[in-house]
Amino acid sequence: MARHTIDVLTRSLDPVVVPSGSCADMIVNHYPELLAHDAAYHDRAVELASRTYELSQFLVDVLGVTDTGARETDSLVYHASCHGLRGLCLRDQPRALLRTAAGEQCTDLPGAETCCGFGGLFAVKMPSISGAMLQAKLDEIEASGADAVVAADISCLMHIGGGLHRRGSRVRVRHLADVLAGPPDA
C-alpha cells in the first residue's frame, strides 16, 4: 500500500497536503522507515516525506495563512489528535487558525492532548479499553457545553462522533477543514 501511495503521489512534485495528522504522520515519519530496506522505494519515500504536510501545517507554516476568511458562531472545543500532535508537532498551527475563525468561541477541551482511545485496530481488538477511554473523552466534551468538537483527524472524529451519536448527544463533531471553509450552512 505504501508503495502504491508513493507511486500515485510522486507523479508530480507539488506539495502533498493531507487533512489528517495521522495519515500525514504515516507518510512523513513511517514510510521512510517502513521502506528502509527497499532500494527502489526508500529514496522516493524520503522525497515524498519532505513535501508532505498536514493541512494546518501547510496553511500556517508554508503559506503563512492564519485567516481563511471563515467566521464561526458555534462554540467549539479543540481536541489535539495524537499523531498530528506528537508525530508532526502540530501544537500552535491548528489553534492559530481556530483563533482567527472562532476567537473566544473556541477553547481547548480539558485534557485536549489525551488520546480518545481510537488507536486504529485497537478500537476493535480491545473494545473495552478503547470504549472506557472514549467515555472519559465524551464526558469532557459534554461537560464543556460546546456545540461541536473540532479536530484535524477524521479517524478521531469518527470515533468521537460515533460515541456521541450512541449517547444521543447534541454535540457534533467537525473537522478543522470544515470550520476553516466557513459556516456549515453557508
Binding site: 495524537c82 488520546c115 473495552s128 470504549g131
Partner: protein, 498 residues
Amino acid sequence: MPDAPSSPRHPAPPAQAPAAAAAFYARVDAALADKALHRALSLTTGRLAGGLTSAFAALPDGEALRDAARRIRAHTIAHLDRYLVQFSEQAERRGCQLHWADTAADASRIVVEIAQANGISLAVKSKSMLSEEIELNAAFESAGIRVVETDLGEFVVQVGGDKPSHIIMPIVHRSREYVAALFRDKLGASNTDVADVPAMTAFARRVLRQEFVRAGMGVSGVNLAVADTGSLCLVSNEGNGRLTTTLPRVHVALVGLERIVPTAADLGVVLQLLARSATGQAMPVYTSILTGPRRARVDNGVTGEPDGPDQLHVVIVDNGRSRLLGSDLAEILYCVRCGACLNICPVYRHIGGHAYGGVYPGPVGSVVTPGLMGLDQWSELPHASTLCGACRDVCPVRIDLPHLLLKLRERGVAEDRAPFWLQIGMRVFSAVATRPRLYAWLGRVAALLGAAASRDGWLTRLPGPLSGWTTSRDFPVPAKRSFTDLWREKTAKGRRTL
C-alpha cells in the same frame, strides 16, 4: 436495533485465543468494572503526571538534560560488556562480593544461599522490582527464611498478600480505608493507629523498627551502579532504604544487568531526571551512594567506619536482558524505571497495573515483559496501546516506546500470532486500497448497503470481528458521494485536471 449504552456487548474472543490472552481480557474487564480502582488511578496518576510537568517547566534545560541522559544510556548499553567488567572489578576492589545470575531462579537461589551461609532467619527488604521479577520472597519462604518488606507500600502489599500495581507506587490501586482495615485485621492495629495516614505510617514504622533491629540481612535493589567507582546508588523517599543497607550485617544488592552508568558525573545527569520524572520532586528525599561494605580499618589503621554491613553482595541479574542487547528492542534497556510512562498512559490510567499481568506494567512493561519472556504468554501486551505517543514525550531518556511496541507487533505477525480474520482482513484491505476503481466501487456499494441498514446515517451493529467497534459507539454510513467524486466535479468545473 439500537442498544442502550449501558449494556455494552463483548464480542466472544476468537476461538484460537490462547488461555493467556483470555486471562488478560478477564483481568482488563475486572479492572474496568472497578470504580474504586479508577478513582484511585485518576487521582494518583494525574497528580504524578502534573508533578512531572511542573518539575520540567521549572528546569531551565530539561530537554537538553534528557538528550544528555539518553546519550549516556545509549552509550552504556552499546558498551555494556566493558562497563560491567569495570563495575565488577571496582566493586570487588572496594570489598563487594560479586555474583552473576543468568536466570530469575539462579538469582533467587544465590540470595538464599548467601542467607543460609550466614545463618540468617530474618531478612528485611527495601523496594525492588527486580526482587519481584525473580520472585525472591517465595524463594526465601520456601527456604524457611522470614522476609519483611520495609517500603510502606510494599509492606501493605506483603501484609495483604497482594502484588504491586505500579513500579514506583506499589499500592496506587488501594485506598486508605483498605490499608486501615488491613492493619486492624492482620496486625491488630487499634482505631487510633489507623485514624489517618500519618497514624498508619507511624504504626507501620513501629512494627518495622523491630524487624530492622532483628534482621541479619538486608536486601535492596539498585537504581544505578557506577562503573568507574564500583558504587551503588539507591534513591528513596522513606528511610527504610538506608536502614536496609546499613543496619543488618549482610547487605545483598540486586542489580539489573543494564543498570550501569560509566561515571559519577553521568549518575548526576540521570539523577536530575529520575525523581522529577517519577514524582515531580527535584530530588528524592534520600539519595544513597554505597561504595563497598563497612571498612573496619581505614588505610592508616587509625579509625574504622562505625556503620554499614560486614558483607556487601552484589547480584547482577540477566534474566533475558542480554538477549535484548543488539536486538531491535535494545532501546528498552535505557529505561531507568521512573514510572512516568505509566502515569501518562491513558490505557494504564484505565486498567491499572494488575491487568497487564507481568511484574512491570504500563508501556514499559508491555515491551519489557514480552521482551524478556517472549510472546507466548504475552502476545496481547504490545497491542494494549493506542500508540498515542504520550509515553515517548515524558520518557527521561526518550525511549520510543510506540516504536518498540510496533516492533513487537511485527514480531507477532512474523511468528504467525495474528488472528486469522486480521490476516485475511489486512490482505483484502491492501488489495482494495491499491485498486482505486475497485475501492470507489466498493465504497458506493458500502454506502448503499449502509443506507439500507440504517435510518439516520449510523450503524449500531457491525458484523464479525468489527462488532468490537459497536460495543460502545456507532459507525457512520459511508457518504453517497465520496470526496474523490466531489473533487473531480469541482476541478472539472474549474477546468483543472486532477
